[in-house]
Structure formats: C-alpha cells, structure tokens
C-alpha cells in the first residue's frame, strides 16, 4: 500500500522533470475548439480557449512541485535555525524567539499569505514557496526547540560534552541525525499544506502565475470561464482537481511509510 505512494510521487516527479520537454505547450487560442472532448489529439480535451488540457497539466506539474518542495525546504531551514538556536542559546534570545513563534502562530495565516502574495505580485513558484514558508515554520520551530532541549540532557550529549567535542560537532554528528526522520515527516506535511494554501490563493485569482499552474487552471475553470456550468467544461475543471488530490494522497502515503520505517517500536522487533 505504501509503495503506491512512492510510485505515484515518483511518477509526478518524472512528469514534472521530463514532461515539459516531451510535450509541447501551445499557448495560442483556438476558440473554435473550446471545451473539446477527449480525443487522440487532445487526451484530456481543451480549455475555454481551445488549448490542450493535458499539455497544461504536464507543464503545470513543474510549478506545483516547485512550490511544494521549496516551501518545505525554506520552512524546514528557517525552523531549524530558529528552533535550534532558541534551544541552545537559552535566556533572553530564547524568550524573544518563543514570543515571535507564538505571535506568528496566532495571526490568521491564510489571509495574511493571500494579502502578501497579492501585494508582492508573486509571479514565480520559488518566491511563492518562500512566502508560504514564512507561515509554515513556526509550528515546526516550536517542536524542534522542545526536542533539542530534551536531547541536550540525554546521555550521549553528556558524553560528547565530557569528551570536549565542540558545539558544532555535537550539533552536526549527534543532534542532527536524530532529527532527520522527524524533519522529513514535517517536510512532507508542510509541502501538503503549501499545496492547499497555494492552490487556494491561486483559485482566488490573487497571483499572476502562469496559466498552466494547476491552481490557476482551477481559478479559470471555476470562476472565469464558466467551465463549472458547462457539461463540456468538466474535463478542464476536473483534470487539475484530480491531479492535486492525487498528489496530496501520494504525499500522505509517503509520509506514512516514512513513519513506519522509522518507528522505534518496529525497529526493536
């Protein structure tokens, strides 16, 4: 069951990497072909301007993956930085950072992300990822801090201290490897939330990303082209919808399999 998750994820990644090279994207409108049904020419039909849906889906996959993974990467990095520093520094620095985290967590994140994305006219996936990451790191930072704090007092750290290994060494060789499973799970969770949030913002039409982006496709389909109400428009609407849901599911399965892999209860078995 879990393998399906990995397989699907891999499929998405492959499509994102190689798909755009293999399948050309024709941006010119052919209004006479709007909302055409499935055919050998157009595997998933056409959109409101007669453009091929499948090609859009393939080209858009790159953007979505970039958004998801860059949010994850930025968020994890920031969370690590803040969480670990907070735990190791202690005192006033810690108190300040904890206060920041608390405030970040309370402010309504989705509206804020929407506002900022719109104002900064975010046009490319990586910037979008950075912006989204700004609201994804606090939760992780908080738990990382707790974990590092508890690890500080465990035996292997004491031993390392006794052996006078430097702080950096402790950080790198001892603390970090223990965090890897936790970090990877959180990375996936953040990526999933980022997809939901980014699609939401795109559906509201607030960011000028490219049309093939699945979120943008949904925006155009649901709100702007009447695809929602026309029976022929269904493919155009459902294609990105299904792709997004499938991608989310694959991430859930992958996370579950990572969890299982690292579960200490199973390891001692």
């Amino acid at each position: 069951m879990k393998r399906i998750g990995w397989a699907v994820l891999l499929a998405f990644i492959l499509v994102a990497l190689f798909g755009p090279g293999l399948i050309p994207l024709d941006g010119t409108p052919h209004y006479e072909e709007r909302f055409a049904p499935m055919s050998w020419n157009h595997w998933l039909g056409t959109d409101y301007a007669g453009r091929d849906v499948w090609a859009q889906l393939v080209h858009g996959s790159r953007d979505i993956l970039l958004i998801a993974f860059s949010t994850g990467a930025f968020a994890v990095l920031i969370a690590l930085l803040v969480g670990v520093t907070s735990a190791l520094a202690g005192g006033a620095v810690d108190a300040l950072l904890v206060g920041c985290v608390d405030v970040f967590l309370t402010v309504p994140s989705f509206p804020l992300m929407a506002i900022l994305s719109a104002l900064f006219r975010v046009g490319d996936p990586i910037t979008f990822g950075l912006l989204l990451a700004l609201w994804s790191w606090p939760g992780l930072a908080r738990s990382l801090r707790a974990q590092v704090q508890s690890m500080q007092h465990r035996e292997f750290i004491e031993v390392a201290r006794l052996m006078r290994m430097g702080n950096w060494h402790i950080l790198w060789r001892e603390i970090f490897p223990n965090l890897v499973p936790y970090l990877s799970l959180n990375f996936i969770m953040i990526a999933r939330n980022a997809i939901t949030a980014s699609v939401g913002i795109m559906m509201l039409g607030l960011v000028p990303l490219r049309v093939e982006n699945w979120g943008m496709m949904l925006n155009l389909a649901a709100f702007q082209s009447g695809a929602l109400f026309l029976p022929q428009g269904k493919l155009y609407l459902l294609a990105p919808l299904t792709a997004i849901i499938a991608f989310q599911y694959s991430l859930i399965l992958v996370a579950a399999s990572i969890e299982e892999h690292f579960d200490p209860r199973l390891q001692r078995g």
Binding site: V103, P108, P111, T196, V199, L206, L228, Q248
Partner: protein, 323 residues
C-alpha cells in the same frame, strides 16, 4: 492565563501595526484619484479635496510616520476604519453586514461537524471492535487529504450543476423576503447546505478520531470500572462518566477552531458567493481596496484571538480540577 492575555494583546498589536504598514503600500495616486473625484463632485479646491480624501481613507502620506501611526491608532479606538474604495461606503458598515453571515455559516458548520463527529467517535470507542472503527479511520484518512474548497467545487458540481438539487450561489434566494418568514428561513438553510457540507465532511472525520481517542483513554480509567460495578444504567455511564470526561478537552478545541474559522473562510465563501467576511476579504485583496482589507484582517485577527481566549476560559470553568 495572564500569559495568554499578554500574548493576545501582542498579537492584536502586531496585526494592527502590520495593517498600518500595509496601508502605506497604497500607491499615492489612489489618494490623488479620490481627491480629483471629490473635486469634481463637490466643487472644492484641490487642497480641500485632498484633505477630505485623506479623511475618507484614513491615510495621510504627507504626515511624518509616527504621527500617522498615532492618528491611525486613535482612529481605531474611535471605531473609525475609513471608507472602502470599491464600495464607497464606510468599512464599518460592510463589516457589520458581513459579520452575521460568517458567524451564521461558521457556527452551523462547526456545530454540525462537532456534534456528528464526536457522537460517532464516542460511539465507536464505547462499542469496541466491529466494523465502525476501521470504517471511521478509512473515512477520516480519505477525506482529510482533500482541501475543503476543492471538496466544495466537487459538491457544487454534483449537487448544484448536475443534479440541480441545491442552489449555486448566495446566502438566500433573491426571490424571498428577508425576515422571519418560512420561505426566507427555508431558503437560508437550503443555501447553507453545500458550504456547511464542504467544511463538515472532513471535519467530521477529524472530530470523530479525536473524540474516539479521548473516549478510549477515559474508558481505561478506574472510575469507569467503578461505574459498572455500581450497577449504573448504561446511559448514565455514557453520559456522566464517559461523556463528561471525554468531552472536556474537546470543548476547548471547539472554541479554538471556531476562532480560526471566523478568521479565514475566504475560499468557501467566495466559491459559494456567501457575503461574509471571507468573501469581502478576497474581493478587497483582488481590487486592492486597502481600507476594507485592513478592517477585515483586523477583525479576523480579533476573532482568532477571542476564540483562543474563550477556549482557555472555558476549559478552566468546566474542569473542576482547575478550581
């Protein structure tokens, strides 16, 4: 508790300051355009028009920053939020008309999913084994992957477009008369079904799992055994021994989630054309209507902060152990 209050105040202050900085992003020509308009309609000098325009949108770029900030705060204290640049009416008016809609839909959605979800969860824990438990877990896993607004699109497609059972947009039918009459209330409820379901379908799953976990841990406690040993009737055990103890932590979660919902239902409201806070917030961002954006964002933050505070107060009041 004090910490929570302090945190709430700081959060609100941060939100205030953020929106203040936000408004300063407004390009100068918005002020200029509004001034020109006033000039043309009211026949005053440009200087006067400009002053009037500043008052309308509560923004004066010619002042030094600190005094702008002070003005801003004092305006807020007087409940003065300026005028919406798209709708040309005071922001407060829009807020007042939108808030009840959001409250309505939020309470309905949260209440429905909470009641159904926790009942299912408690029931599953009470009746160990059987098909209900794996079914529930499967349901929860399946539904929680789908973002609620996408679920909304699918529901809209099936029930609104295809089957035409339920209306597509709006909070009530345009042909009904607002008021306490049957037609209006019926239309209200009919329009609320899809948005409430879009939210509730995944929420029921998550409440059920949480309730099940809480109930399972209570079932392992000694006082449950004592309750059975006392020969109490099953419903009393369910209500006073299991129910009370299992639900306690859930109630404060409910308060928190209510606060969060009030804070940001932009997508569902936009999708279903529901004229609540989220709908107007989405609109205002799209049209760069800064005064409105600011007012709505502040209100959302207040809602979340209040929800959290309420949760804390509730959990203290309800749990005898904290007295």
């Amino acid at each position: 508790m004090r910490k929570r209050i302090a945190l709430s105040l700081v959060t609100v202050w941060v939100a205030l300051t953020f929106t203040f900085l936000l408004v300063r992003q407004m390009p100068g020509d918005v002020l200029h355009n509004l001034a020109i308009q006033i000039l043309n309609t009211q026949g005053v000098t440009y200087q006067q028009a400009r002053e009037m325009a500043k008052l309308q949108i509560c923004y004066d770029p010619d002042e030094p920053i600190m005094s702008q900030y002070v003005h801003y705060l004092s305006n807020l204290a007087h409940g003065e939020l300026g005028r919406s640049t798209t709708y040309r009416i005071p922001v407060v008016t829009i807020l007042k008309s939108a808030l009840p809609w959001t409250v309505f839909i939020t309470f309905m959605a949260a209440g429905f999913s909470f009641v159904v979800g926790t009942t299912l969860g408690l029931w599953t824990a009470w009746r160990r084994g059987g098909w209900l438990e794996p079914a529930l877990t499967l349901y929860a896993t399946l539904t929680q992957a789908i973002p609620d607004f996408l679920l909304g699109v699918m529901l809209l497609l099936v029930f609104g477009v295809r089957l035409q059972w339920l209306p597509l947009r709006g909070a009530y039918g345009a042909d009904t008369d607002p008021g306490l009459n049957f037609a209006f209330v019926a239309s209200l409820l009919q329009h609320a079904i899809l948005p409430v379901m879009a939210f509730s379908i995944p929420a029921i799953g998550s409440w059920a799992l949480t309730a099940k976990a809480s109930a399972t841990s209570v079932l392992g406690e000694d006082y449950l055994l004592v309750a059975r040993a006392k020969g109490l009737k099953p419903w009393r055990i369910l209500r006073d021994y299991l129910g009370r103890n299992a639900m306690l932590p859930l109630i404060s979660s409910l308060a928190t989630s209510l606060g969060a919902l009030l804070g940001g239902s932009m997508l569902i409201e936009t999708l279903f054309g529901f004229p609540g806070l989220g709908y107007f917030l989405a609109q205002s961002i799209g049209t760069r209507d800064y005064p409105l954006m600011q007012g709505l964002f502040l209100l959302s933050t207040l809602a979340i902060v209040t929800g959290n505070l309420l949760a804390e107060i509730l959990s203290r009041r309800l749990d005898p152990r904290s007295k």
